[in-house]
Symmetry: C2
Subunit: 166 residues, 2 copies
């Protein structure tokens, strides 16, 4: 994998997200990467992320899928526009709807491995489908509809919070 | 509201959930109550639960809806069986699927107020629909399909983790 994750390119004012913001010290720090035409993410839950003993909390699973999907949507948009991810204006997507199917209890020991493909890539809307595995087992399936934020400042711009208006 | 929330009746071994377990010190401690034939929950997000500045993280919203829904499903099952919530065997539901529609950005200042109704109450499956408000504004809609765990020990039983097999 490359050194920089999709989320490392987010502008500072869009990097406070609890799920994936590099500037949120208490957050989950979800990090996503390309793997060919698909995107991937590995996440290791902490012991506190329990649902029933031995298994991962469903809200945490939904959270990781959510942030990985919005990051993947942005990456797909940069790629569709043949633009590097540190070019301006920055592209960010937010979640319009999230659907998560819990196919089996997700063991808490192993890292969660997410693999996503794109069901739709439009300029304003990207739909991301994700399978979440622990070891060889498919545990969760997610589908996230994301919509594009108004153009955001580039990674090196500072101080604006224009994205907050969605 | 009564003193005890639905979640206060969960047996100790099912009270470690990050979202609603009273024994998970790092968790969210979602608490749910009856209001007539509907169920309600109030939750105050912390500053770290940011998405973009000023608004609540979608994964947190999904998490609160999730735990409020499984708790509501258990409460509905006790009521359908005309049983008090501290009777044995304990009834618990887990999430089979979660659907969340983010209708507008959810302001982080106010408490989140959830109100749920039951779309279906079966012995093995309960479907819960939830509206989430901040002030008068409807911000999020959720639909959660929950399924019943095998019978669990009563609140005063100790030490079993039979629920972990789902």
């Amino acid at each position: 994998m490359p050194d920089k994750a999709f989320q490392d390119y987010y502008p500072d004012n869009l990097s406070l997200c609890y799920g994936c913001g590099r500037l949120n010290d208490a957050g989950l720090h979800v990090q996503s990467y390309w793997d060919g035409d698909e995107t991937v993410c590995s996440f290791t839950p902490r012991a506190v992320h329990t649902a029933i003993p031995g298994f991962v909390y469903g809200g945490l699973l939904a959270s990781v899928i959510d942030c990985h999907s919005t990051g993947s949507a942005a990456a797909a948009a940069y790629r569709a526009e043949s633009r590097p991810m540190d070019s301006s204006p920055a592209i960010r997507f937010v979640t319009a709807s999230l659907r998560v199917d819990y196919l089996r209890p997700t063991p808490i020991e192993g890292p969660l491995r997410l693999r996503s493909r794109f069901k739709e890539i439009g300029r304003r809307k990207v739909v991301v489908e994700t399978d979440l595995y622990v070891g060889p087992e498919l545990c969760v399936h997610g589908e996230v509809v994301t919509v594009r934020l108004q153009d955001s400042p580039a990674p090196n711009d500072r101080g604006s919070d224009s994205g907050a208006g969605r």
